[in-house]
């Protein structure tokens, strides 16, 4: 049986990082905000982020929340900066598409709350797909 000499399975170590006190609190907050199960969010993060980015997530999360104050109202409602730059759950392009779509819905006469909800559903869909 052949295998890579240097590649090793990092899953258990990544899980340990994500279940530490501050990471666990952050994951619970994000999962509740997005409306997806914590276990799915953990898996999503473990598959996409390297170990160092994962270690730095609580600090980035706090800084990202502070930066939301400088965003436009729509971006703030969708937490666009937080979930695409600070915690890169989706790419910036994908988040831009969601923000543009929400703005289009509002321009077409949809009430703000409904348009933002539609945007959050799009965001949730892009994570669960």
């Amino acid at each position: 049986m052949s295998g890579y000499l240097y590649e090793k399975d990092l899953t258990s170590m990544k899980y340990d990082i994500l279940t530490s006190t501050r990471h666990d609190r952050m994951v619970r907050e994000i999962a509740a905000d997005i409306g997806i199960p914590q276990i799915k969010l953990r898996r999503y993060i473990m598959e996409r982020f390297d170990m160092l980015l994962m270690e730095n997530l609580p600090a980035r999360y706090e800084e990202g929340k502070r930066q939301m104050a400088y965003a436009s109202e729509t971006e703030r409602d969708l937490r666009a900066h937080l979930y695409s730059r600070a915690i890169p759950l989706v790419t910036e392009d994908e988040m831009d598409r969601i923000v543009t779509r929400v703005k289009e819905l509002m321009e077409s006469g949809m009430p703000r709350e409904e348009a933002v909800l539609a945007g959050k559903n799009l965001f949730r869909g892009s994570i669960l797909k």
């Binding site: 530490s20 006190t21 598959e47 160092l52 980015l53 600090a59």
Partner: protein
């Protein structure tokens, strides 16, 4: 991040220029580095888990064993967090002695970081000069605290030992000698044409990127973020009139120069402490009790945070440590290394952020 790439070149985990093991996987196009990701897990201690359930008297010794290079600040932040929980006052003389020891620790850490960088860019002469001057700082640390590392000098309500008059005189004399040497070595680094070739406009971290990655310490201050210095918010440093220094370039050169500047700043701070050191007790006493706190201090590498919950007997119920290297190495690998023109600059850029893997993995 699972991706298929053309050429992925691993640097580390064991590298002759690195103090500790980490694996940086660089995705490259020829010599050009497109991106980098890091694999940790070579020296995980699980120290937070070991701390849980233990009395603070044991945990204070564990805290300074998180990092062997900046052990004093781990000791200081942990104890000041406990003092914050239980409102334990600190005598003024003890508060100033804490600053003196903390600044000596910062000096030796910065000198070691700059030694590593000079060694990495193969300027071994300057590297060895720096290692030599570091010994003088370590001697002062040993004279005051009784140990070179893991000094356990700071205790709730004060410090363990007073500073004797003859030791203070010797400290002043040695500070003058260290200052002369550091000024000379700063000039060598600043004006060295070969050093400039390997350091200027390499590994650039912009202010926006530094903010996004939450970079801290000299790494952030070299990218124009003086407000990141936690000493600004510490009452003793405020009394001393502390003003942080910063630079704007954000490259390898700026980060090393930043540390040289901070060494000279530390010398000035220690002198100010010695000038204003009042007579009085150095141990006021006090027993930590139940409570919860998030407390930060400025380690040599940047903001060090402790999140602690204790019970009535002073046992540590829960603890989380956020070390500055977590943020700085992330800023290095995901921002500075991205776009580096030559693979040969990867180790030097990595070292310029003063990475401490022991801190990162805890």
């Amino acid at each position: 991040m699972k991706r298929t790439v053309d050429v992925s070149i691993p640097v580390g985990p064991i590298h002759p220029c690195w103090k500790e093991p980490a694996r940086v996987k660089c995705e490259t196009k020829g010599e050009f580095v497109l991106s980098a990701e890091v694999e940790l897990g070579y020296m995980k201690k699980g120290i937070e888990r070991i701390m849980r359930g233990r009395p603070w008297q044991e945990v204070m010794f564990l805290a300074e064993r998180v990092c062997g290079i900046c052990s004093v600040i781990h000791n200081m932040v942990f104890i000041e967090a406990l003092e914050g929980i239980s409102s334990i006052p600190v005598p003024e003389r003890a508060a100033l002695l804490r600053v003196i020891v903390n600044e000596l620790d910062r000096m030796q850490s910065h000198i070691l970081a700059n030694f590593s960088y000079c060694y990495t860019i193969e300027h071994e002469t300057l590297a060895m000069y720096l290692l030599d001057v570091r010994e003088k700082v370590m001697d002062e640390l040993e004279r005051i605290t009784g140990a070179r590392v893991t000094c356990a000098y700071i205790v709730p309500g004060g410090v363990r030992f007073d500073l004797r008059h003859e030791d203070a005189l010797r400290l002043r004399a040695n500070l003058a000698a260290i200052e002369d040497e550091i000024i000379r070595y700063t000039g060598m680094f600043e004006n060295g044409p070969m050093i400039a070739l390997r350091s200027k406009r390499i590994g650039i971290l912009t202010k926006e990127d530094a903010r996004e990655a939450c970079a801290v310490g000299p790494t952030a201050r070299a990218s124009g973020m003086p407000e990141s210095d936690r000493r600004l918010y510490h009452p003793t440093y405020q009394k001393l009139g502390f003003v942080p220094v910063s630079r704007e370039e954000g490259d390898n050169f700026a980060r090393i120069m930043m540390r040289f500047q901070e060494i000279l700043q530390s010398i000035a701070l220690i002198r100010r402490c010695l000038d204003t050191l009042p007579e009085g007790p150095v141990r006021g006493g006090g027993i930590p009790g139940a409570g919860e706190i998030a407390y930060s201090g400025e380690a040599p590498r940047g903001e060090l945070s402790y999140f602690i919950r204790t019970d009535a007997a002073g046992r540590i119920v829960d603890i989380a440590i956020q070390t500055p290297s977590i943020m700085n190495i992330e800023a290095c690998c995901h921002y500075m290394l991205k776009g580096v023109a030559s693979l040969a600059d990867v180790p030097s850029t990595f070292v310029s952020s003063d990475p401490c893997i022991a801190c990162t993995e805890r």
